[in-house]
Symmetry: C2
Subunit: 388 residues, 2 copies
């Protein structure tokens, strides 16, 4: 089991804080956006007397409410195609365990969300990365690149859309490439749509709406980012494939039920007014515009403009992103503050890639982002491993 | 992945309810005892504004509070030996994944909590059952029985104490047998102590206090039963073995964090007055005394007196417990009600065992237990597969 590449720097951040240095956390997708009061109040005003196990698939009332939510974003599902999970993490686990056998292979465009790898290892599954590139903003690799690595052991493709860590939002044409691949080779498509609402150009194109592969899709979802409710640990696995659903339910039953309090929160969130997303998206877009502008203004730095989620990948004039990110915490400060970034090496499956790249989560307000960028700009001038 | 033996009858119970039949749920460890108001109020009165990820090991304040709790039950641990998990279920998973490799074997006295098997399958681990018997109340099988099945692949013993499903509370002498086995063969001992407080004779003897095997113990715990907070999904993995702790932390980091709201509940629960357990235990003991008396008064039924937890195993004069339990839901009613039991077959690893046994969870009030026993008594008289 590999260590979490994002969390392994935590002890260095803790040490910096103990020295009195303020650390701007751009390393992790933990937004500073307040959880909507209505969502928290639903839990605070609840009046049950026994905190009981829920149904293993989650409360029926919540699953029925989610049908409304999905309808509102153009996805038609029924409540018995939904399993409420403990965060998106468990949806990924259940998906892998239900669809894949020991020794199977899954193709994932890299850089990718590092924990896919962890859950694959836990399921005995091999991740086969195919590389997307910063030059074209991490667009989907072409059909032929996928076919080069498809073997009889290939069982699935994993896609995160909009993407973590790249922020890339896949176009309809790209989704059709995936559909054709899935159809031709009879694969599963695991579609992680945690950031569905956060796109800054075209709306997200859900895998659930790709015709002809309805039985091949496993949607992995979460309320964490959508409602700034990461700590609730509520997600969902959704599939129209009855066999996959039934297999996933066995794993759901083994762990008894998803968390109780946060299911109440998730159910309440479906009734949030539409302008919640308008406002939240506007805030993220402002932050994206700022961070991308600041990054590209730094000598030797390149940051493609991400179309979605709240992440940006930047190429830096540095020798080694792991060393640099640790150095930022251990040996650097500017105005008694520093910035914590995620080295991109942890997001690549191919060894050696990502050494000049970092991921920045624009989850802090614009003033904090300005300050963090001041730190980074100064740091790049004095970092001993600078390459330009 | 096997289906949950307890949950597979759920559709039949749902059908019975649709016909207007009241179902007494003695099939699952979901107590009717109210979650202490103070515990629920801690969540309801919380005033944070962002539902953030917690530390992957759980909130530091909660872990520090748990040190006090463990001290109060005679167990000395430090907060950095504790990982807060998503229910006891995740503690079992992390324990298996951190300590065992694909193909390893774990010995579990049967009948055992069925989900151990599910989590073992998910970890690629083989469960080797050794049989305990209803005649002596499911006491620990002797040292020699363990040694018969120990192979070079044997890596651990799993013990649930007090036991689910048997209610057996292991004596100090039995715990010393386990200690000697663990020491001699250098095994891990996974100790599931979910029902620690609920013993009706001698106090529970924790594996954490067995001298000379401190590094071999992985304690798997949960607040579910202790505070009637099953739906919170909060447990803990505790170990003094640093390597195991670090390995388990990798899995903890991959799933980011345990549920947020219920950690607040768990932390508050440590401050419950001592008489909470005195009162709760007295209630369970009353129920146990009643159910055991009623069962043993039925012709052809034998139920040993369980020393702990809130389960009783009974031998019934029936052909097949799976058929019988389904028949109770599908084809029987008495005073427009019926009883749901757990067939014991699901708790045995050895095929064919448990066909005359059922597990009864005495999680309902005494009046409901009386009614449920009236149902069972009547049912046994008319069941077509009766053997006596």
């Amino acid at each position: 089991m590999p260590s979490s590449p994002i969390r392994k720097l935590v002890p260095y951040a803790e040490m910096a804080k103990k020295k009195g240095i303020q650390v701007y956390h751009l390393n992790i997708g933990q937004p500073d956006i307040e959880t909507p009061k209505m969502v928290l109040d639903a839990v605070r005003n609840s009046n049950f007397t026994v905190l009981e196990y829920s149904h293993s698939a989650g409360n029926e009332s919540y699953r029925k409410k989610l049908v409304e939510y999905y309808q509102s974003v153009g996805i038609q599902v029924s409540y018995d195609q939904i399993i409420i999970t403990t965060g998106g993490s468990e949806a990924i686990q259940f998906g892998f365990l239900a669809c894949l056998d020991e020794g199977d292979e899954v193709i994932i465009p890299e850089p990718f969300y590092a924990n896919y790898n962890g859950f694959a290892v836990a399921a005995g599954v091999k991740v086969v990365p195919i590389t997307s590139h910063i030059n074209n903003g991490f667009a989907l690799p072409p059909f032929s690149e996928f076919e080069k690595v498809i073997t009889p052991k290939t069982k699935a493709i994993v896609l995160c859309n909009p993407n973590n860590p790249t922020g890339y939002s896949y176009t309809r044409a790209e989704m059709e490439i995936l559909r054709d691949l899935v159809k031709k080779h009879q694969l599963f498509l695991f579609s992680d749509e945690a950031y569905r609402e956060f796109t800054y150009g075209e709306n997200q194109v859900s895998a659930m709406n790709m015709e002809g592969i309805e039985e091949n899709i496993i949607l992995m979802d979460t309320i964490s980012k959508r409602y700034s409710a990461c700590g609730g640990r509520i997600g969902a696995l959704i599939t129209k494939n009855k066999m996959v659903y039934d297999a996933a339910m066995k794993f759901a039953q083994a762990r008894l039920s998803p968390p109780g309090f946060a299911q109440i929160a998730g159910e309440a969130a479906v009734d949030l007014p539409k302008d919640y997303f308008t406002d939240t998206k506007a805030e993220y877009q402002k932050r994206r515009d700022l961070i991308v502008k600041r990054l590209n203004a730094m000598p030797g730095v390149f940051c493609p403009n991400p179309g979605g989620a709240f992440y940006a990948m930047a190429q830096l004039p540095i020798d080694d992103s792991d060393v640099f990110c640790q150095w930022l915490l251990e040996s650097f400060e500017f105005n008694n503050s520093t910035v914590m970034l995620a080295p991109a090496t942890g997001f690549y499956g191919t060894p050696g890639l990502g050494k000049q790249e970092v991921r920045l989560a624009y989850v802090l307000n614009t003033q904090a982002i300005e300050n963090a960028m001041d730190c980074l700009e100064t740091a790049l001038k004095v970092y001993p491993g600078r390459t330009l």
